[in-house]
Amino acid sequence: MSDAARIAVVTFPGSNDDGDAALALELLGAVPVRAWHADLELPEGTEGVVLPGGFSYGDYLRCGAIARFAPVMEAVAAVAASGRPVLGICNGFQILCEAGLLPGVLRPNRQQRFVCRDVTVTVESTSSAFAGGWEVGQVLVIPVKHGEGSWYGDPDLLGELEARGQVALRYAEDVNGAVGRIAGVTNEAGNVLGLMPHPEHAVDPLLGPTGGVPVLRGLIEAALTPVLPG
């Protein structure tokens, strides 16, 4: 870890956690570089990507459905295909699902209410690129704030994800009606992670729980030691 990881934070029209994501990455020793939805390429030297939370394109149609066609998304898909890490937080998770880079889809919360509070999630799998410093059963307290965070996949898909260790994080309690209480899933290769909780809001003890640190550290370490397809 000689050099700091260069992590691109993509801003879409309606993103609102891009600033916090950049600040949190900086706090943890990475170099955040900002990218814009209309960019055709990510900044030179990008080693990892964050798609931040917010309400891209006003959440019109379905959350993330329009952002997936943003010009920058081809570059994001290329990063994902290269084996470098891509992290989607909240709206970023919704975008990655709509783009087909992550399995399933996020639906309106079962309780039909916006949920905004600290939640407890448990590490379910350490098979992803993000999990270098994680332990199965590890408990993280991270805030959520979403109206459409109920992950859905049919029983066959859920079974496959569980069997392959793609269920990275699970809520300790039912938060939004998500199938399997899924809080975060990865792609099959393990270098794309999406989660509804906001790790970027949970890195400074002055402001509350710090359960976001292992998640963002996982991204940073994966960016520095990517598993590139040989």
């Binding site: 066609f69 889809v105 639906r107 919360n109 079962r110 309780q111 996949g153 049919d154 009606g177």
Partner: protein, 81 residues
Amino acid sequence: MKATVLIRPKEGILDPQGEAVGDALRTLGFAVSGARVGRLVDVQVDTDDPAEARAALDRMSHELLANPLIESFTIEVGEDA
């Protein structure tokens, strides 16, 4: 010509919005055993050929307007729309 896509939550998919609407209708005294809430998209397609319009709407629905994991859609073209 005008064309319309009707998008519905697939059968068996939980629809919290539809449940809330159903509850509200029952509260108002309507004899209702269920409600499902979908979405309607009217599109003005730049063609006069109904078959072409239908094919275009089908592609639009697959690519953007509906998410096949959770939604089904039907297309109405021209007079029917």
